[in-house]
Amino acid sequence: MIFTLERTKRTPSVELSENRLVVRGECYPENIAEFSEPIIGNVRDVLDKTEVFEVIFELLYFNSSSAMFLFDLFNMLDDAAGGGCDIAVRWRYEADDDSMEEAGADFEDAFEHASYVLEPRDEL
């Protein structure tokens, strides 16, 4: 693992390896900049070196301040895909939560080059 964060009440777990980023939990940090900057920085470093990168998001809830962080991260991933990196992003949501399905659909605009799919799941 290159970078990891433990899940807390207000922040998701983050697992970043050379080919994969997995984010699981809830995201409404006390301080969004403090939470997001190391993630953005580390993912940027990984994207400079890799050719294939998989991203999995399993968020149960995120607040509006976190939406901007997610959008920035997704833009960075899409730029890397535009530069030739093979990037697949999966947005997983609980099948009975149309609120998080809609939230995932809102980010479709960020993706032009990378693959982005919404995946309903029975239980996260």
């Binding site: 969004i32 607040n63 301040s65 959008f71 605009d109």
Partner: protein, 181 residues
């Protein structure tokens, strides 16, 4: 002062199952958010409904922390703290999430214009406003993403706001969000 028994009855009568009033900080919000989440999930039988109520509660609470005109010094000087009230109640059609806080008069005209615009928008128009704001970044004067009111407008079935003048000259901002079952 209102009798304690009457205060108890008042909350019961208006079906208010959660209420916080006073100085609110991110630390205080962390301490109460689990209790609120558990209560909201117990009160609503659908996950998507509970997520919406909780999401609106967090935006309301964070607006008080960031924008209340009244605050007291927090222990940590980096932490902002705002005074206000946030409450969640059951209603005939679903749930009501209310927030009240003193507001600086200078920001009222812009906020009022913004909220009148949001109130007139359809669901599709709100989605466009949301994605446009994501692309353009936070507006001047915003301490968050400037997305909070748009998100609340999208998640609710209706909302109302009021700028209520107090006797001593200050103004209270009241924001009331309704989510149907």
């Amino acid at each position: 002062m209102m009798h304690t028994q009457d205060f108890h009855r008042l909350l019961i009568e208006r079906n208010t199952f959660f209420c916080f009033s006073g100085p609110l900080s991110e630390t205080a919000l962390s301490a109460i958010s689990d209790a609120v989440k558990n209560r909201v999930f117990e009160a609503s039988d659908k996950r998507s409904l509970a997520t919406k109520i909780f999401a609106v509660f967090i935006e309301q609470a964070q607006n008080i922390i960031r924008y209340s005109a009244e605050s007291i010094a927090a222990d940590d000087e980096n932490e902002s703290m705002g005074i206000g009230t946030v409450a969640i109640s059951a209603s005939q059609t679903g749930f009501v999430i209310e927030a009240v806080n003193p507001i600086r008069p200078g920001i009222i005209p812009k906020l009022e214009r913004n909220l009148i615009q949001l109130k007139a928008m359809s669901g599709d128009e709100l989605k466009v406003a949301y994605t446009e704001r994501l692309k353009s970044g936070p507006p001047e004067g915003s301490k968050g993403a400037g997305l909070g009111f748009i998100q609340m407008a999208r998640k609710c079935d209706r909302f109302n706001f009021e700028f209520a003048k107090e006797d001593e000259g200050s103004t209270l901002f009241i924001f009331k969000v309704e989510i149907d079952k």
